[in-house]
């Protein structure tokens, strides 16, 4: 099966199918896609989902893609070899992405496919009056289920498995709804009859063991496991599902979840809760983060730990709300006036989202400073199948939280006392003999306003020293691929997935490549990165922004300049095929 648009490439042995359904918003694209993905995962196959949609509730053009493999798939692939078109627009937009010998299921009433194109690409066409069939069951909206039934039949998949995912999706609406969906799916299957498009080999993973999880869900679950107690948020694409996931689980886990009136309220509530002793987190996207800037400084100044999540999307301003990008790196590093100590982490897949969210809560309380988690739409909204994470790896750490027994009458508690590591012991309201003022003004060791040169110097240096303390604990950054590589890619965040997929292809050839994935952005892991790049021959920075922000940071911090940059800022993810093409062009140049 070819990986690029119509050109024959070396076969990707692990990928069984790159499936896509497209139609108008409101046609149930996401539901159908998620059901297909979950079905495959329950059968023991590995999946990677990717969805595109404009910022609309109805109309527009939505697609949901599922890459199915017999080994973990970590990225979306460009070439589609099973396409379901519920409308003409899907055919118009997606025909260029079709691989040779692809299958196209489509609504014969609304979609016209030119015979010449079908011939040129050797397509197998499966037209059916999808909406009409659905109307027979008095539900034209179920055209997506008709198509799903056709897909299941064409791929020789198990209808009992389809029933199980339908039950998971609609079970709470009653058995009759599940039955109706199955009838509609079977009607689709009847159109296909005995024809088969492809058969999957036996699955390698244990059936039902894989969970299908996206980055936002993983991040939320990691925060829950990591002991988040207070969560505040304001809906902003692509971060909103964190707020709804937290709200859904609030009662069960004893978390207070607040949907506040604006992002400034969100972060200040988070800081107030943190000051009062709760483990606190907020999430938003770039625009909301911008509103939180001054308050980020407040948290740094008052030494209150809060986790702040920025799920990126392209800007500037409203930008591309439903698309992906990595343009906020410099922004989160520097925002807020003067030097505000902060920690910045950037997970690259759902597993890292889970563990880094929990770790971020620990770091926020230990270092008493804002901890920023960078994610993006691709990571947040792309579900992939993976074995459940080992939650036992998560431990809760609370830092220098004072015990009541150690507080004495008489002596005024010095909340901001100078220490070697920069971290001062803290009390929380309710503790006797522990009073202090958390002050956004420069302050003395008790938190009272103090503008003297000596105290300013002491406090400012103390706050910044915390980062130097933390920097010593930053784990080794991971480099994937062979040590002896002609090209070393350097990147961060969700680029990990496409890079790992591309590396599999690249390293089948003679010329090798590896990939340094930086998850701990700030303080920058200078020694670890310098060590990893010491023997690199040619370095390529790969990231989803126009100016190579990580490459710039790398040079600033280590003196190491990349030799080339592969940048993308069109709102779409990196595809393994385009990384492969870049690599082939790059190594053929001297």
């Amino acid at each position: 099966m070819s990986m690029t648009k119509g050109r024959k490439q070396r076969k990707n042995k692990k990928l069984l199918l790159n499936w896509q359904i497209g139609g108008e918003a409101g046609f149930g694209i996401t539901v159908a896609g998620q059901m297909f993905s979950r079905m495959c995962a329950r059968a023991g196959y590995f999946t990677f989902d990717y969805s595109e949609y404009p910022s609309l509730i109805r109309g527009g053009h939505n697609t949901y893609q599922v890459a199915v493999g017999i080994a973990p798939v970590r990225a979306a692939y460009a070439a589609v070899d099973f396409l379901i078109c519920l409308d003409q627009e899907t055919w118009r937009k997606q025909q260029e992405t079709l691989a040779y010998s692809a299958a196209v299921v489509y609504d014969s009433q609304y979609v016209k496919i030119p015979a010449s194109v079908a011939r040129r690409k050797k397509l197998t066409l499966y037209p059916a009056p999808l909406e009409d069939i659905a109307r027979r069951y008095e539900n034209p909206i179920m055209r997506n289920v008709v198509a799903l039934g056709m897909a299941v039949q064409l791929l020789g998949l198990d209808f009992a498995l389809l029933r199980s995912v339908v039950k998971t999706a609609f079970g709470d609406k009653g058995e009759s709804v599940v039955d109706l969906n199955m009838q509609v799916a079977q009607a689709g299957a009847a159109v296909v009859g005995a024809r088969r498009f492809r058969r999957f080999p036996a699955a390698k993973a244990k059936k039902r063991a894989l969970m299908v999880i996206d980055g936002n869900t993983a991040l939320s679950y990691g925060a829950i496991r990591g002991g988040v107690q207070f969560y505040a948020g304001y809906p902003m694409t692509p971060s909103s599902s964190i707020l709804s996931t937290m709200a859904k689980n609030a009662r069960h886990y004893g978390i207070v979840v607040k949907h506040a009136e604006d992002e400034i309220s969100v972060i200040n509530m988070g800081i107030g809760a943190g000051f009062a002793g709760a483990r606190s987190m907020v999430a938003t996207s770039g625009g909301g983060f911008a509103l939180m800037s001054e308050s980020l400084g407040l948290a740094g100044m008052t030494e209150v730990g809060v986790v702040m999540v920025d799920v990126q999307r392209p800007g500037p301003a409203t930008g591309l709300p439903t698309w992906t990008g990595q343009g906020d790196l410099r922004f989160v590093l520097h925002t807020a006036q003067d030097d505000v100590p902060r920690i910045v982490l950037a997970p690259g897949d759902p597993e890292e989202c889970f563990f880094l969210a929990a770790e971020a809560l620990n770091l926020a309380e230990e270092y008493q400073t804002p901890v920023i988690l960078l994610s993006d739409k691709l990571l947040a909204a792309s579900a992939s199948s993976v074995l459940p994470f080992d939650e036992r790896r998560v431990k809760i750490r609370r830092g220098k939280l004072m015990k009541q027994s150690r507080l004495r009458a008489g002596a005024e508690f010095a909340r901001y006392t100078d220490t070697a590591d920069g971290i001062s012991p803290r009390t929380i309201p309710g503790m006797r003999h522990g009073m202090f003022v958390a002050n956004s003004d420069e302050h003395n060791v008790h938190g009272l306003v103090d503008e003297t040169a000596a105290m300013r110097t002491l406090q400012h240096a103390k706050r910044l020293r915390k980062l130097a303390t933390y920097a010593k604990t930053i784990p080794e950054q991971r480099c994937y691929g062979p040590r002896d590589a002609a090209v070393t890619f350097v990147g961060w965040g969700s680029t990990k997935g496409a890079m790992l997929e591309a590396l599999e292809q690249m390293n089948r050839g003679r010329v090798k490549a590896n990939f340094l994935h930086i998850t701990h952005i700030h303080p920058f892991p200078i020694q670890s990165v310098a060590r990893q790049l010491k023997h690199a021959k040619r370095i390529v920075g790969i990231e989803g922004n126009a100016t190579g922000q990580l490459a710039g940071l790398l040079r600033e911090r280590t003196g190491i300049a990349v030799n080339a940059m592969f940048l993308k800022h069109d709102g779409r993810p990196f595809y393994p095929s385009e990384i492969l093409e870049f690599f082939q062009r790059y190594v053929s140049k001297k």
């Binding site: 107690q229 004893g254 107030g272 809760a273 002793g277 459940p388 202090f436 003022v437």
Partner: protein, 288 residues
């Protein structure tokens, strides 16, 4: 000042101008805390930025001196994290009705058990006397040399319209009345607004102590005054400042506080619940 109220003083001497209404409010609060028999460690106050916010350095309780316009969400976070604390928010009228107006509106809807004290002097004192949203039409200041065009904001009417369950206005110089109202405000279970008229001796030469003494009168001097009638309260909210300006409790109702409606907090405050030991395996199973 009794020895008991001295416990609420820090080592710092207040830096307010002589004659500033903030001195009177400071004294009143110390008296109120003492008379309510509150423990220092159980009081948490979120302050805004302004002359009023400097109170943070003079009161010996847990304090959070935050950003201009933002004491209310900080107070909200504190209260949700530990609803057994006595939580106050304190700030000026510029801070609260200018920069922080959105938080004011939405906080009242929630009815968290917080007391919001607004130091209302109709100017921005700390930045040298520019007109605030409470300034009367025509007020001349450095930013409005030809007289401000806008009409003043009416926080009492806003509070009444927006479901606040305790709405009061006081005058800092009517010291005993202020103490009495503040005590009731703090005891009230739910959101309490106390808008304290507090003359700025240094910058506001129009709305002086004398100006207000001529106009303020106590609502409960009238035996017919009632605090359970919102429409009547609204009429009072539009009264004055000329010829007379009512002070006292306009309206009070009992309604469940926000925290009372959070089942997560029914047994213990959030900060007394352990963050450890939560399993998410059941959540993973739901994704299989």
């Amino acid at each position: 000042m009794s020895a008991k109220s001295e416990q609420f003083e820090t080592a710092l001497n207040p830096s307010w101008c002589p004659g500033c209404g903030d001195w009177a409010i400071y004294r009143a609060l110390k008296t109120v805390f003492t008379e309510l028999d509150l423990r220092q460690e159980n009081i948490a106050i979120a302050y805004g930025i302004g002359c009023s916010g400097n109170l943070a350095s003079y009161l010996n309780v847990y304090g959070f001196h935050g950003l201009h316009g933002r004491p209310l969400p900080v107070a909200a976070g504190m209260k949700m994290a530990n609803h057994r604390l006595t939580v106050l928010a304190a700030g000026g009228d510029g801070d609260g009705y200018g920069e922080g107006i959105a938080h004011f509106i939405h906080q009242m809807r929630a009815n968290q058990d917080i007391t919001y004290i607004v130091f209302d002097n109709q100017v921005y004192g700390l930045t040298k006397g520019q007109v605030s949203p409470r300034g009367q039409k025509g007020y001349r200041s450095s930013t409005t040399p030809d007289g401000v065009i806008e009409e003043p904001i009416n926080p009492i009417a806003l509070a009444l319209a927006n479901n606040a369950t305790f709405v009061a206005r006081t005058f800092a110089i009517d010291f005993l009345h202020n103490i009495s109202v503040l005590k009731r405000a703090i005891r009230h279970k739910g959101f309490s607004l106390v808008n304290i008229i507090q003359p700025c001796q240094t910058f506001n030469h129009l709305n002086t102590q004398h100006y207000w003494r001529q106009r303020v009168y106590r609502l409960d001097d009238n035996p017919q005054h009632r605090t359970d009638d919102k429409m009547y309260a609204m009429e009072k909210a539009f009264e004055g400042p000329d010829p007379k300006y009512p002070i006292g409790i306009f309206y009070q109702e009992q309604r469940k506080s926000y925290e009372d409606e959070l089942p997560q907090l029914s047994k213990k405050p959030l900060v007394q619940q352990k963050p450890e030991g939560r399993s998410v395996r059941r959540l993973f199973s739901s994704l299989q």
